[in-house]
Amino acid sequence: MESLKKRAVVIDDEKDLTTYFSSILEENGFLVQVANNADDGEKLIRENPPDLVCLDLLMPGKTGINLFIRLRKPEEALRNIPLIIITGIQEKLNIDWKDIVSRFRVRVPDGFIEKPVSPERLMRVVNNVLDGTPKEGVQLG
């Protein structure tokens, strides 16, 4: 049965949060791999492309943003892996996925959840993203 489980990769620099998100996803039948920095996360994705990626944009040294851009570039083979951005808002750095999308001409994320994240909100977005029907726009949590 294990092999039928959907696979998810959770990337967040905060260890508590990867634990939290992975717990929620595991509870809902996902096989979860976690990474606490962008490089490790990218490695996991490329080694074995998952069914879902949960990515924190705000990680030290803009690594989260760079990973998002790399994964969603038009020429990227893995660009269609469903990707949900989970992030807080940092006004001063003007980090907004909409800006990034328009500036770097990358594919929009499939879902977006602003912290704090409740298990219900997370799963609603995850289910919306993965329910198999093609969707216009971003699923917001």
């Binding site: 508590d16 040294g61 006004e91």
Partner: protein, 664 residues
Amino acid sequence: MNNLPLLLKPQFRGNRPTPFFSKLLFHNKILFIIFLLLTFFGVIGATTLHFILKYHLSKEYQSRFLTITQSLSHRLGPMVLAKDEKGISYLLTEVSKFNQGIVYLMVTDSRGEPWIKSINKTDHDTKVDASEIFETAMPIKYNNQTISTIKSGFSGLPLQAFLKQVMTIYLSILSAMIIISLLIARSFLRYTTKPILTLTRIADEISLGNLDIDIVFGQHVNCWEIKQCGQNNCAAYTNTAIQCWFVDGTPCEGYEPKFPQKLEGCRKCEVYKTHKGDEIVQLADSFQHMIYMLKKSQAELEDSHKFQRNLIQNSLIGIIATNEVGIIRTFNRVAENLTGYSEAEAIDTLTFTDLFPRDISIKINHPLIFDYGLELRGFKPTESEILNKHKKPIPVRLSGINLYEEGKHLGKVFFFQDFREIKRLRQELIQSERLAATGQAVASISHSIKNILDGLMGGVYVYKMGKKKNDDKSIENGWKMIENNIELISELVINLLNFAKERHPNFEKCDPHTIVEDVIRMVENKINSKKIEIRSEYKGDFKRVFLDPFALHQCLMNLASNAIDAIPLERPGHIVIRVASENEHGIIFEVSDDGIGMSKEIKEMAFQGMFSTKGSKGTGLGLLVVKKIVSEHGGSLEVVSEEQKGAMFRIWLPQIDPQNSILG
């Protein structure tokens, strides 16, 4: 002006005044000299005339009486022989009667004794001084034999009377001539000295400042007629109002184009020579040139004065200048508007101390700058006040300086700008900045709280799941997450309190070792899974260190936490806390790491507060709290960092002796 060849180096050789002579008018001086000369030569002439007349007349007089005596001696021979006493006496008396001046005639006998004497009225009428009598004696001969002697005596008085008469006439004529000469000379001198008097009057007028004087001396000449030129484009051509040498740009060859430089050439020109008269005319010319130059420099001076006054009056900066004792001499429009005093009310009435605060009179005498070896005293723009007419202070930005000219103190000048609007704007800015900062702080703190909330929610969720599944590991993990985030909340609260609270450092003698080692012990707990080596270094003597240990602990904790966060999880890192004492001046604390470092952009934002690069964990409060504590200590905080190479934060704190502390 100095390069004008026609201007002589002024050299004045004043006469040593003789009291009487110097007081006389010029023409009287000349008259006096003429009088003296005429009198001198008149007297010499009179003396000479008297001497010559006397000499020649005496000779004539004597020869006349000799002739009389001789003729008598010839006629008396037969009468003496005949002893005709009566006849002799009659003859002698008659001769005496008809010849004035004969004092006596006497015939002696053969022995020489007086025999017959003339009867002469002068014997009775006048007493004749013996010294004034010429005496002669002549033999009376008959047939070549001396038979008697005739003696005669003549008085010089008639001769003297004649001489006196002649001299009187001469002196009268001489006096008349002197008087007539003096009168003629006086009229002539009056005529010649009149232009001098006119020039004197003109000089007086000039000294009174009246330069609009017409000086008409010498012959007015028409250059175009003398030169027979047809230059009708020349400004001097047919110009009878002004002489050509005053006109600039005449096309005459070989001359400078402008007056007065051209004058040197003009003086050699036939036109000028025709005009040129005596010395008076030349003097008048020089006067005219002088007036021209004076007018020109006066106009230049007036222009410059007007320009300067305009500049001062219409300056958008307030200007008040005083004389050397502080009395106001310049008061411009801005000063009028700001104070409510009019220029007339302020000038010569108010002093600068009536308008500016008391400390300004001290500040204005502070050494400011050295300018070419001269020490200028004053002060740079500073916030101050000016008192208006109703003694109400108005905020101004004020600067002032003492004015010197060749070492002499001339006065003071103050420059000021109305600061009310700027102050109001600044207040508004502070207000809006405060609002923005508050908004930013609230956003940042709520963001941080959101993160902590996530952690707490996560902890509770994991704990619950563990409980549900009876999974001890999950229970433990969940509990740890809850604890961690409670710790984060307490950290946030401490930083918030530190940031918000206005507090003075509590200086006490303390040992930096204890503080630093305690910080290291505390942050080691936070390192968790990271491979970080943290150590400390000490340099110098810390026997007399006065610090607020709690505040410093907070600073080092924040910096060390930042350093840990800057080191990526995946590679080992190093953190060093260095303490160095800087003699007696201060103490340095450095916290350095070899983490991800900061870009220029991030470095700039780092100290602005409420800024964090730490993703979910940062509030941006940490560094702000460090900055605040350091400034409360009177110290400084700096950062050296390069991207990917780490960062070093350096705190410098001055050594404070709590006894004399100005901060404590």
